[in-house]
Structure formats: structure tokens, C-alpha cells
């Protein structure tokens, strides 16, 4: 028994907490994706690039001499007009097409490609490592954890809770849910559906940017940083149920824990296929994912 406790304290628990800090960031990414899909039926393939833009903007804000807390507040605000414009200029153009799903997917994919190259053009292709904003570590119940990871878990959880409250408890969220459920009915009830679409897209993009700010100190910053992350986020969204907020949270925690714990026993190379395998199995049993879509929740 004491052996197990030691194992838990020094091996398992830190790994789980690491997984949790990654999980929180993945959930923030997935939330943006799933809210955009739930409302607009748009698969945003450029989400990973928006995440990268968030991280790079944080570098720029930092280079101007501002500290981390300013980045945290300012970068999401800078992302809002980017997302707004993307929705207005790209998504709206094909929104009423019969093949909206595929067309918006292709458009955002092309846009992501352009954005990635623009980042390379502006910031150069090299990897940059921002300083850790909160140094040191804390011992909790005998488990040592870097302070920044601790902050990430707490702050991220608070943020997820805030998103939840906005979507399910606020008037604004009620409008979004109404528009997702039946846009014509919502429109006749006086919901400014067009505005809600653009606003929601911008909100999702801001969340991606915020994840970028939060994860930059851990994973470094480079133009293609979104690529690896986006697959995990999509996996979370599919397993949780496309368009489901609860689903994104549950699947986000679950899958990142599987990844974290499994990489103790198998080569990390195989933890990706393992997570993907779980997704395939979920799809076999419940093609709609674990939870239902936004409007129906």
C-alpha cells in the first residue's frame, strides 16, 4: 500500500495534474470550436491558426513591455475583430449555400493556410519561448506542481465556468441558444440573428486566442503550433458531441487524462492513436457523440 501511495504521489498524481492543465487548455479550444459548430454549423479549420495568432499577439504585447496580465486581457479583445471579420467576409459568403458544411470547411482551411504563412512572414519561422509569467512551484498534499500550471488549471476552470454561465444563464446566451435551435423562430422573436452569428464566431475565435496566450509559456510559439493542437481539439469535440458544451468539457478532461496516464506506460507516440481509437469507438457506439447539440441541450 505505501508503495502505491509513493507511486501515486510522485508519478501518477503529477502526471494527472499535468494532463489536467493541458486538458483545460484543450477544452478552451474545443469550446470555441463546438460553440461555432453548434450555432453556425461551421467546422472552423482555421481554429488552430487563431490559437497561434493569440500566442504571437501575446509575444508582441509582451515586446511592448506589458506584462502577462495585460496580454491576458488585451489579446482576446484583439481577436474579436479578427473573428468578426472572418465571419462577415468568408463565412457569410457561402452561408446560404446548400453545401455550407463543406464550403465553410474548405474556406476556413484555405484561410488557415494563409494565416499560417502570414505569421511566418511577420514573425519569422523560428520558435520563440516567452518567459514563464509565474515562476516557482507549490507543494500540495506532498505533490509538487509548477505554479504556472496550477494557475492554468484554476484560471482555465474559472473561464470554462464563465463560458458556461454566459451560454446557459445569461440573456445573451439564451439568444445564442435560441438561434441555434431555430433561427427563423429566434429571428421572429426579435433576436438579431446576423449579429449573434458574427458575435458567436468572434467569441469562439477569442477563446482560441486566449488558449494561445495561456499555453505559449508552456509549449513555445511557432507559426505551425496550431496543427498538433487542432487534432486533439477536434477529437474532443467529436467525442463530446459536436456542438455540445458539456460534451467538450467531459471529453476534454477524459481524453487528456487518458493521454497523460497512458504515456506513463506506453511510448507517447502511441498515446495519440490510443486517443483516436477511443474516438472511433465512441463513434461506433454513439455517432452523435456523448452529448447533444447546443440548441437541444
Amino acid at each position: 500500500m505505501p508503495e502505491f501511495l509513493d507511486y501515486f504521489q510522485f508519478v501518477l498524481a503529477p502526471q494527472m495534474l499535468n494532463g489536467l492543465s493541458l486538458g483545460v487548455a484543450v477544452i478552451l479550444m474545443a469550446l470555441g470550436l463546438t460553440i461555432i459548430f453548434g450555432l453556425l454549423d461551421v467546422i472552423n479549420m482555421a481554429h488552430g491558426e487563431f490559437y497561434a495568432i493569440g500566442a504571437f499577439l501575446a509575444l508582441s504585447v509582451g515586446a511592448l513591455g506589458f506584462d502577462f496580465w495585460v496580454m491576458l486581457a488585451v489579446v482576446p479583445l484583439m481577436m474579436v475583430p479578427i473573428g468578426w471579420l472572418t465571419e462577415q467576409v468568408l463565412i457569410q459568403r457561402v452561408f446560404h449555400s446548400r453545401e455550407r458544411h463543406i464550403l465553410t470547411l474548405l474556406l476556413t482551411f484555405g484561410f488557415g493556410m494563409v494565416l499560417e504563412d502570414v505569421l511566418k512572414l511577420v514573425y519569422g519561422p523560428n520558435t520563440q519561448k516567452p518567459p514563464t509569467p509565474i515562476g516557482g512551484g507549490t507543494e500540495i498534499l506532498g505533490i509538487f506542481l509548477p505554479n504556472y500550471r496550477l494557475f492554468l488549471i484554476v484560471f482555465g476552470a474559472a473561464l470554462i465556468l464563465a463560458v458556461w454561465l454566459v451560454v446557459f444563464r445569461s440573456r445573451l446566451g439564451a439568444m445564442v441558444r435560441a438561434a441555434a435551435w431555430d433561427k427563423d423562430m429566434a429571428s421572429s422573436l426579435g433576436v438579431p440573428v446576423r449579429l449573434v452569428y458574427s458575435g458567436t464566431f468572434a467569441f469562439g475565435v477569442a477563446l482560441a486566442g486566449l488558449s494561445g496566450v495561456l499555453l505559449a509559456p508552456i509549449y513555445s510559439v511557432f507559426p505551425t503550433m496550431g496543427r498538433d493542437f487542432i487534432l486533439m481539439a477536434f477529437t474532443v469535440v467529436i467525442v463530446g458531441g459536436m456542438g455540445s458544451i458539456q460534451g467538450a468539457v467531459v471529453a476534454g478532461v477524459l481524453l487528456t487524462q487518458v493521454q497523460a496516464i497512458s504515456s506513463l506506460y506506453i511510448s507517447p507516440v502511441w498515446s495519440d492513436p490510443l486517443v483516436f481509437g477511443i474516438m472511433v469507438m465512441v463513434l461506433m457506439v454513439r455517432p452523435q457523440g456523448l452529448f447533444g447539440k447546443l440548441g437541444n441541450a
Binding site: L105, L106, F109, G110, F111, F234, S267
Partner: protein, 341 residues
């Protein structure tokens, strides 16, 4: 019987003029390509012949995307998986077993059929955007495993694939000879094109088109859409893999990049820009985009911006791609009458 033949011809999508226009394009393309090959050979060029050969190889990958997207209505974002499978299989066979073209192609055919069946079984559980995301994930995961597998050269890929001689009965083709190999790949890709074009105009292919148009009615006509989607998927996997198998013969190496999303995405771009559901569009698209990349590449290394913008414009402005844009004009010239839809 005469009546039957008549409606047989008329029952083709939009009648004969459309097909004639496409076949004419294929013929013009073939002649231009041969002319290019001869001129480049006479000028003693290697670089452009190699580049053009590569464009044709990636045209095969694009055709495989078109079988799924343009005919069956399935967007695959992971077709590079099978392209890479073919390339790696070919590289391993040529390097470690023996420099036999036919053995490499045979192994590729077997493995692509197996992998395509397995992948199709997973991906065809779902439709629409889910299909796109599953194929994306499947390719990404396999690519990562290859990227980390030392036996397959990991991130470096496999180098040192020997230059082979391809026996073709009456004569042989030296892969090391740029002009000869270019003509060989040209013939290979156009034969694939002809084969697929034939298949897409049989009742089998027409049923795929029906699935694209309305997959909910197909079962009530007595066909199981899942079976057809599986067949289309395995066919597309083989087309991608067989052209992928030519890659190491051209370049002498393979790298994990061939499997990554970049490659799959480029194939989708090629199909959209060239013309979805036309088969010849992806071939022309591949040649044009390769040329464009090479031209833009002389000015700036940021050709992704140019290609990306071009791609987005195609999606918005040219839903039928370049072929869709020139075909009405061609048909008009061919028939001298108003253009049918």
C-alpha cells in the same frame, strides 16, 4: 435496339457534348505534355521534367480525392495516408527486397486494398463533416506514428531508393532518365484517368453520383450505399497509393511529409481549383498549381498565401473550378449551339 442506344447516350450526364469537351481537354493535355517532354528532352533539361513528373504524380492523388468528393460526395482530408502508404511500400520494396517495379506496385495494391478497407470501415461509419474529420484524424495519427518509427526512418524518411528499370514488355524505361520517366508517368496517370472515367460512367459510377446527389433515396432503389461508399473508398485508396508508389522512383527517397495534412490539403485544393467531379480538372489543376508554386517560389518563399487566396477565391467564385469555367465555352465551340447544363 437503336432506341436503346440512343437513350443510352442521352442518359449520360448532360449528353455527349460534355463528355466530348472533357475528352478533348484530355487529348489537348496529352499533346501539350508530350510536346513539353520532347522540347525539355532536346534542351537537355532535368529540373523541369522532374517537376512536371511530380505534378503528374500528385495529379493521381488529386484524382483519388475527386473520386470521393466529386462523385461520391465524400470530402477526404486524409487521402495522403494512402499516397504515403504507397510511397513507403514502394520505397521499402525497392530498397530492401529488390528493385522490381512490378513487385513494388503489386505490394502497394495489396496493402492499399487492406488499409483502404480498414480505413473505409472506420470512416464510412459517418458522413459529411464527420467523414472529413475522421479521415483527417486517421491520416494524422498514422503519419505521426510513421514520423516516430525508427524502422521507417522516422522524421528523416527513407533515403537511398535505387534507380530502377521498368520492364514494359516490348521495351524498358529507365527511371533515371528524366524524359523517359516523365512520359511513363504521363501514360500511367492518363491510363488511370481513362480507367476511372470509364468506371464513373458505368452504372456503378452513376450510383456513386446518385449517392452524392441524394444518398437517402439510393437504398430504396435496391442498392446498399454503404457498399458503394466502401468500394469508392478502396478504389480511391488504390489510386492514391499507386501514384504514391511512383514517388520514390522519381526522387529516390520518401519522407513523412508525404502523409501529413499538408499533402492531403494540397490534393483537395488541386481538386477544387481544377474542377470537382471532372477528373481531368484535378490533373490540369495539379500541373497549374505546381507551375504557379514554382513561379511564385522564385519571388518569395511565402507561396502559401498566394495558393491559399487562390483556393478561397475558387471556392467562392468558381464552384466548378477551372474546368467548370472553360467547359461551357468549349462545348459551345464543339456543338456550335447553345450550351446544355
Amino acid at each position: 435496339m437503336r432506341d436503346v442506344m440512343l437513350s443510352g447516350r442521352l442518359a449520360t450526364r448532360g449528353g455527349g457534348a460534355v463528355r466530348n469537351a472533357v475528352h478533348l481537354l484530355a487529348l489537348v493535355f496529352l499533346l501539350l505534355a508530350i510536346a513539353f517532354g520532347v522540347i525539355a528532352w532536346a534542351a537537355g533539361d532535368t529540373f523541369y521534367l522532374r517537376l512536371a513528373t511530380e505534378a503528374l504524380i500528385f495529379a493521381g492523388l488529386a484524382m483519388s480525392v475527386d473520386i470521393l468528393l466529386g462523385y461520391t460526395g465524400l470530402l477526404s482530408l486524409g487521402q495522403a495516408l494512402y499516397f504515403g502508404l504507397g510511397a513507403y511500400t514502394s520505397a521499402v520494396v525497392l530498397r530492401d527486397i529488390g528493385p522490381s517495379f512490378w513487385l513494388a506496385m503489386g505490394m502497394t495494391l495489396v496493402l492499399a486494398t487492406l488499409a483502404g478497407t480498414l480505413g473505409g470501415f472506420i470512416a464510412n461509419r459517418v458522413k459529411g463533416v464527420y467523414f472529413a474529420l475522421i479521415t483527417f484524424g486517421l491520416a494524422q495519427v498514422v503519419a505521426k506514428v510513421v514520423y516516430n518509427t525508427r524502422e521507417l526512418g522516422a522524421s528523416d524518411g527513407l533515403i537511398g531508393v535505387p534507380e530502377i528499370t521498368i520492364p514494359l514488355g516490348l521495351f524498358t524505361v529507365e527511371a533515371a532518365n528524366p524524359a523517359a520517366f516523365f512520359l511513363f508517368v504521363l501514360a500511367f496517370v492518363l491510363l488511370l484517368y481513362a480507367g476511372i472515367a470509364y468506371l464513373m460512367d458505368t452504372p456503378f459510377g452513376r450510383t456513386l453520383t446518385a449517392i452524392r446527389a441524394n444518398d437517402r433515396r439510393v437504398p430504396f432503389l435496391g442498392s446498399n450505399p454503404l457498399v458503394y461508399r466502401m468500394l469508392a473508398y478502396v478504389l480511391a485508396a488504390n489510386v492514391a497509393a499507386l501514384t504514391g508508389a511512383l514517388y520514390p522512383m522519381l526522387r529516390g527517397f520518401v519522407s513523412p511529409e508525404l502523409m501529413f495534412f499538408h499533402t492531403s490539403g494540397n490534393a483537395v485544393i488541386t481538386v477544387i481549383v481544377g474542377g470537382v467531379g471532372t477528373l481531368i480538372g484535378p490533373i490540369l489543376g495539379s500541373v497549374l498549381l505546381t507551375a504557379l508554386r514554382s513561379v511564385v517560389g522564385t519571388w518569395t518563399e511565402h507561396h502559401l498565401i498566394v495558393i491559399g487566396v487562390l483556393f478561397m477565391l475558387s471556392v467562392i467564385l468558381l464552384p466548378k473550378g477551372l474546368i467548370g469555367a472553360i467547359r461551357p465555352w468549349l462545348q459551345h465551340r464543339l456543338t456550335g449551339s447553345e450550351t446544355p447544363r
